[in-house]
Symmetry: C2
Subunit: 437 residues, 2 copies
Amino acid sequence: MDFYLDAPLPNLPKTSQKKIIIIGAGFAGLKLARKLNGTAYQVILLDKNNYHQFQPLFYQVATSGLEPSAISFPLRKIFHQSKNVHFRMAEAKKIDQNINRLYTDVGYLDYDYLVLALGAETNYFGSKNIEAFSTPMKSVSEALFIRNKIISNYETAINIAEEEKRKPIMNVVIVGGGPTGVELAGAMAELRNNVLPKDYPELSFKNMRVVLIEAGGSLLSSMSTAAKNKSLEYLQNLGVDVLLNTQVEDYDGLTVKLKGGESIQTKTLLWAAGIKPASIKGIGNEQKLANGRLLVNTFNVLKGSKDVFALGDLCLMEIDDPRGYPQVAQVALQQADNLAGNLKGVLKSQEWKPFRYRDLGSMATIGRKLAVVDLPFIQFQGIMAWLTWLFIHLMAILGVKNKLFIFFDWAWNYLSFDPSLRLLIRPKVVKQKENKA
Amino acid sequence: MDFYLDAPLPNLPKTSQKKIIIIGAGFAGLKLARKLNGTAYQVILLDKNNYHQFQPLFYQVATSGLEPSAISFPLRKIFHQSKNVHFRMAEAKKIDQNINRLYTDVGYLDYDYLVLALGAETNYFGSKNIEAFSTPMKSVSEALFIRNKIISNYETAINIAEEEKRKPIMNVVIVGGGPTGVELAGAMAELRNNVLPKDYPELSFKNMRVVLIEAGGSLLSSMSTAAKNKSLEYLQNLGVDVLLNTQVEDYDGLTVKLKGGESIQTKTLLWAAGIKPASIKGIGNEQKLANGRLLVNTFNVLKGSKDVFALGDLCLMEIDDPRGYPQVAQVALQQADNLAGNLKGVLKSQEWKPFRYRDLGSMATIGRKLAVVDLPFIQFQGIMAWLTWLFIHLMAILGVKNKLFIFFDWAWNYLSFDPSLRLLIRPKVVKQKENKA
């Protein structure tokens, strides 16, 4: 059973203000908290981590291009000046919708409004083996784990005499042809083509395959035909083996079995094939789909509730399209924006506005000077798309210092062709004892 | 028993060149390898990590001022262009001096010359309790561990209702009044004075004590009287409780017992009280002191050997002063320099030059604009000393990119009074299975 503390969370300022609890400081939760900063609500923002993670750049952490700190932003710092927003590092455990109470691992909180913005987790579609042996990339820690794994694989390979035994250690197989898989495959191929051969002159990088496996018939399935075709072409030019219409059946840590009988040898299977909503106890079965997504109306109100909301990847908004809106950052940000407006409106007794999604387009970068961009009015690929991608992502990063550091890092990597973060810094394994008194 | 592989280390270029193995890529080992780059020796550099660590700035990693990557430098990158220096991430296990063979965890190596530059480890002076419960800072991983520990302490403290129970979690006790302890205490006091209160407005930082404990009668015992006095004054002005002539008797993870009966409550005891030489099997008892330091002559040749050398903190050179030279970076660097010259001389049949230490002075920084500097011809303290300290350390850092990033980080922290690295990024705990096939 999950542990939760059955005592109120201490050290919160007493106030007569209505209390909004936001669980999760991803794109949706953080946006909402920032929008509610300075209002007449007491806002309590909870997250498992003490920082916001900028998911679109995880793949650059995994491939030694950026430091974790460049794309992680301390939440307390964001709310230094705030009088009404309070952050706590805590894990939400259970909701009691009858008495408006949220239980966490550090105490419970009573709410007037509760906003669920827990996001999504890696979906292994029920395969216990794949979950046990493959590596996901849904957090900056996991991205760092991938970086360490790749580097230690090569430090291991160089000490193995037989070439055949080195191959599975050198190969990298990525599953999932969405933006994450495509960007990871491109960056991994560039590491192989330009960086690793300089670090390991004794090894032959012809022996390193970068394989991208996608179950559907194209990459970037939600993008334009031009983007689909160009991304495939770019990856193939970088030397990525793209396997379309291909499903992974099983993986034992060494052999990837594909449906149809083929197999690939690798010690490194990166799993970016799907997501599932995060879960929390206390949600009724009638409030969610079988796959766990929480049903909300066009005001992001949880089905059958009045004061619980769900935002972003976690929710499915009941609209004409039964698939709802796509699980992307733009939807999360815009829903948070709309909910913030509505919650502020409550204080002025304004009428609630329904959510309307404005598709601003999507993009993916494949490598140095290569990207694909779909905007509502135009689609383009190549170096202009790459520059657009760089600019948009730089602007989306929180904080002046992080922007500057990332810009500097990108410029350096671009000019030197040599990302310098190939450090296998494993934080000390805590063999330290702790006094529990 | 330690594992070592009883097979030759594979994938090394075959050559008729004489083979020099260097164990350890700290100040001494790395300097020597760089000096031997491009010579007619085959040089194999071994280290447990794949990067060189810049020890003098560990305390800034521990106190959120710098990223680990800023003070760690990938060893393979340093030798990208090299034809004769080869790096391997490996642990040296045992020397067989009779057959000139070194055993490691990834295979054995036969050598013409073996250079031991393994450095020193934390010395707990036999106290099992202190070793189990306190936190050392002899690697960048350990420095990162301290940072994470401090941050998670505060995230814990804020969820505790009783003020008395919060105090031991907030207090930080540092043992050892050498440069490490002094610099750590100063930086920790500045965190308390300027940074943490903004992050945790709900907590009272009067409850946080920063205590520095030193067994001797002064801080920075090897420095000038002016430096000793000023560093004490600076620390006291920052609000550090400096306890001189005080010894720690025991620690159980909560209570630091001092000799004489007093005690201090803390969950965080940082141990910088002493070092001991790293050890490796295969060294005769007559070749070392009881404390483990390897005896070398003025050519850094290991006692009773012709082709094994020891450098830096690990060795004790037999000179008029029975204490030998101090265990500081300058001695390590200069010994490496001298040995490189002698080994190069061998190829030209030159005569061996004995080592002569040139004391270039020492320095320590205590806080923002505060440092103490002893140079051979002048001693000074305060802001000029601080600028000198900044300049010297920036110049000593390897690589243009690291220099620039550190400079930028320092300038940012100086201007903003707000180091931004308060991220509790715990790399994913590897619950992942591995296929051992």
